[in-house]
Symmetry: C2
Subunit: 438 residues, 2 copies
């Protein structure tokens, strides 16, 4: 009976796509998972593990449930990039234990991959690519592809190397199929290969793959030796990650929060709110500094939140534009152009919005001085917020800080401060010069 369940399980399991196998596996409870380790060999389970969407730290916990030998074999059968992601988060002792169960080639390959810094080509690449030499014929190359195809992550591109694994060219599997068996590889290979360095940042790689529509990109070390390939599926994850990050920063929150535990949500959001609250307290202190003016002209209070709110909105707009520009442009002078552009845009938007507000307040409150104060303050506050929205992220980029840290809420809270300063200074001045007659 037990044997039967095993057979049934294996049949059903192998009918699933590895991604679905992975999803099925990670939904199991620990006891059922232990049965899976019994029913499947480590190599059979490895495809599912290659597709798991859980965080590496969660996958590492599955490894603790297995015999170390089973875990080591499973890891060896996975693609090297996924294997390294998981081993990158296991405890040092456990890492050594697992590596000891692997054959020396596998373990030294993993050790090598673990050395690369996070978010670089080296950390992202896998080592399962096919390379041939330029002197080979199509027939010989095809025979090699046949032997290595099952292990390779992709056979769309086959890399051509000279002595010492130096990258010399690239051919596609199309070329192999279309050309006759005795053609020499060098006669049709593309020697204009686009490659990335192992230390290249993952965002740069994403841009290359997106621009050139590659399915994979070769990764070389400083001596132009090919060390691995980065495939498009990993790049899709990078693109997702980066855009989620930008989005989160604009909202002042980690939006990938998927918890249903309100306490965790609170822990995620509160620190940022409290920091902004203290920044907001500065605004309050500033208004309190002008309490003398306020008590004389209490009507001023009506427009505080209108001015701070509108300037904050304008600042958020220019911040978002600046962050997208920084992310997509690599030309230095383009950023100076952006600043210049924001100055003019800020002046125009400030002037137009200021005039609108001036007219509304004039008609509503029938007070020319009040209208002028609110209109001028609005124009000034928008101009400053607009400029800050682009200057701050560009300045951060220049000093090497991730510009997205200057989040939307941060810019609007900061612009509250300058808006209030501008508003009450203009109001005090007008109070001294003209008074606020009706």
């Amino acid at each position: 009976l037990f044997e039967n369940k095993r057979t049934k399980f294996r049949t059903d399991f192998f009918e699933l796509h590895p991604f679905d196998q992975g999803r099925f596996f990670s939904d199991l409870d620990p006891d059922d998972r232990r049965k899976v380790y019994e029913y499947l060999t480590p190599v059979e389970l490895s495809d599912a593990f290659d597709e798991l969407e859980d965080e590496p730290i969660e996958i590492a916990e599955f490894l603790d449930e297995m015999q170390p030998r089973y875990a080591a074999r499973l890891l060896s059968a996975m693609f090297a990039d996924n294997e390294a992601d998981i081993l990158g988060v296991v405890h040092a002792d456990k890492l050594e234990e697992l590596l000891n169960y692997m054959n020396p080639v596998d373990s030294s390959r993993v050790r090598q991959l673990l050395k690369y810094k996070d978010e670089t080509a080296g950390a992202l690449m896998t080592t399962e690519f096919i390379s041939v030499s330029s002197g080979m014929t199509v027939g010989l190359a095809m025979a090699q592809v046949k032997r290595e195809a099952q292990q390779a992550e992709t056979i769309s591109y086959i890399y051509v190397t000279k002595e010492d694994q130096k990258l010399d060219g690239v051919i596609s599997v199309k070329d192999l199929i279309v050309n006759s068996d005795d053609t020499l590889i060098e006669s049709f290979m593309n020697s204009n290969v686009i490659s990335v360095n192992v230390n290249e940042d993952q965002e740069e790689i994403a841009e290359q793959i997106r621009d050139y529509n590659f399915v994979a990109l070769p990764v070389v070390n400083d001596n132009e030796q090919i060390k691995g390939i980065v495939t498009v599926d990993d790049i899709i994850d990078v693109i997702d990650e980066e855009s989620a990050e930008d989005y989160s920063k604009l909202a002042g929150i980690n939006t990938e929060e998927t918890t249903n535990n309100p306490w965790i949500a609170v822990r995620n959001r509160l620190p940022w709110l409290i920091i902004l609250l203290f920044l907001g307290m500065l605004s309050a202190a500033l208004i309190s500094h002008f309490e003398g003016v306020l008590s004389k002209v209490s009507v001023l209070a009506i427009f505080i939140s209108l001015i701070t709110g509108t300037a904050g909105n304008a600042g958020t707009q220019s911040l978002a534009v600046a962050i997208r520009r920084i992310a997509t442009s690599d030309e230095e002078h383009a950023l100076w152009k952006l600043i210049l552009n924001e100055i003019v845009t800020g002046l125009l938007i400030g002037a137009l919005t200021g005039t609108t507000v001036f007219l509304i307040v004039l008609i509503w409150q029938k007070n020319l001085v009040l209208g002028s104060v609110v209109g001028l303050a609005m124009a000034g506050a928008i101009f400053v917020a607009n400029l800050a929205g682009s200057l701050i992220p560009i300045g951060m980029e220049k000093i090497g800080v991730d510009p997205a840290v200057a989040s939307g809420p941060f810019i609007s809270t900061l612009s509250d401060l300058t808006s209030i300063l501008i508003y009450f200074n203009i109001a005090s001045l007008c109070l001294k010069m003209f008074g606020f007659g009706g």
Copy 2:
């Protein structure tokens, strides 16, 4: 001499990757572009056009510079999805003219593609795929792949069809290479093909390709007949587009604005700012309604922007979380869970922030009543903003409006309104009950 320049140009041009050819071409001025049309045949230029990153409407303008026959040949040589994107934006007369210069097979294929709704699988797919029948041997299939490889957009997957082009299975080019020539396709094909319907939304397709790490996905009509394939490079563009859209909405601006003309930037941003300004005017009117309270207790004005700002920040956080959840979850009940979760989270964050503010105001202003009013108002305002931040996008999703339209600035300006209402009502009540003694 002229002949020489032509040869030199052709040599240099063909050394570039098509993406770089495209970038080079679109940077030329009109006179130089006209020379390119002379130097290159339409088929030679078509690879560059396949890679152009300009908007279809801009590419369509290039077509106007060419002889119609040249343009028609160029279009025919492009991948069908790119061809249809461009023809989708040309004027009806021009479209008919161009289609008349094409051979009937090409033009009817384009007409078919043009019928699909924007942002569906049909609009995204290309028709250049390879299909074989299940009864073929590997050798026969390979011969067919050899013939069709140059035209196909990808040969990574070869689709297996039965009578009437009904999708029956899929094999990879790996399978063809690894299996011996006389093996039957049906003996190893995967008949568990994952496909999408022509009317499927592009976001759903992106999710499938991302999850299953496919390089391409077959598109079928309602009769399960294969009509085309969607390739991963088009999906990367979709992912980029969708995330840029979400980001833009959160900032209340089209962040893909790449203009260096301030007037265009102003036209892009001002309408949204003015709408929010009028919403902000409601806040001002509301405060003005409470001017009586304000003139008695002018110290209240100090905390207006602190409360509206902090509530706005909390609302933006919950909005961003809700929008990401809606985008990534397809379970109905998960959204109700989210609302419930936000209620508890809002209560907790409101209580904690309210207490903090209460203590700060108490120590600073040495006024228990004032501290309580500000603290309570802060707690209430945060709770409401937090709830609105998730309820509004979920509500919009329910009535079929894109939830991302409820942008960050919209939520914060709306929460200004409710925050002021809460603040002054609590203040009025306390004024009546206790007065605001020092």
